[in-house]
Amino acid sequence: MESVIFYIFAAILLFAATMVITVRNPVRAALFLVLAFFTSAGIWLMLEAEFLAISLVLVYVGAVLVLFLFVVMMLDIDLAPLKEGFTRYLPLGIIVAALIVVEMIAVLNAPQFDISAAQATDGSNTKMLGRLLYTVYVYPFEIASVILTVAIVAAITLTLREHHRKLQDPAKQVMVKSADRLRMVDLRSKKQDGEGSES
């Protein structure tokens, strides 16, 4: 049963990943990426990495890919110019792909990557993670917050460049008095005096 589900998930994952890079419409590609992340969450779940699997959906599917979709939605559908560079970038692409394969093999062969250890645990693995993350691994955890803060600052400096903006300050709008907006002027014609006091 489990192996059947695993193979179904693996097949969907491979299919979705292939579609991401072959489909022409970028929005569809982004949606296939959603499917890919979702099925890999399923596979992580089968490794009993409950918290990580659901976090993958929460963070990547729920947040990162929404940004992807925003970016991709603004692109032109017509991607012909992008394809022209394909052969030019091919050697570089192959080098990168080869590097990734080597890295993956190195990681998967590492002794820390022993899956049986993870499966031996039972009970809530969110709790287990919590016990370690905020005590033993507190230093990397704090570094994560620094990185996130840098990301906030970077995102703002990159996107918010313009200074000229029309802002509405609701507090000021509420506080406004009739005297600030309306000036009463006397417009009665005063023929005897020659002219009106206001022009």
């Binding site: 489990e2 589900i5 399923g42 779940l45 089968m46 009993e48 409950e50 918290f51 976090s55 929460l58 963070v59 729920g62 947040a63 990162v64 929404v66 940004l67 925003f70 970016v71 939605m73 603004m74 559908i77 039972d122 809530s124 969110t126 709790k127 993670l129 919590g130 016990r131 993350l133 905020y134 005590t135 507190v138 955890f141 704090e142 994560a144 917050s145 620094v146 996130l148 803060t149 990301a151 906030i152 600052v153 995102a155 703002i156 996107t159 918010l160 903006r165 029309k166 802002l167 509405q168």
Partner: protein, 118 residues
């Protein structure tokens, strides 16, 4: 643990089914008389004269980026919240430092006007 996720898998499949089946039923039972006026995009009586996909304010991207960061923060808060009793004062201070650093970012964001919309 895994046996608890089988109903969820089934539920997702059935949920998708509840999206697909009514659509199919709508096709089978509904009439189909398309004409060019009916199929044109709604635009308050105008002829739609160009592609509706336009460039939009960069602030939408900013919100999406900030959302990712805060979402990660929530992902960090969840395991912390449920083991708080076990990790005690040390865990509490560790998270306060974490949140403190991020609050600096949040204040920066606020002061820079990244949260202002017009």
């Amino acid at each position: 643990m895994l046996e608890n996720y089988l109903p969820i898998l089934l539920f997702i499949i059935i949920g998708i089914g509840f999206g697909v089946l009514p659509l199919l039923a709508g096709f089978v039972l509904g009439p189909r008389h398309p004409d060019s006026e009916k199929r044109s995009a709604y635009e308050c009586g105008f002829e739609p004269f160009e592609d509706a996909h336009m460039k939009f304010d960069v602030r939408y991207y900013l919100v999406a980026i900030l959302f990712i960061i805060f979402d990660l923060e929530i992902a960090f808060l969840f395991p912390w919240a449920i083991v708080l009793d076990e990790i005690g004062v040390f865990g509490l201070l560790a998270m306060f430092l974490f949140l403190g650093i991020l609050v600096v970012g949040f204040i920066y964001e606020w002061k820079k006007g990244a949260l202002e919309w017009e």
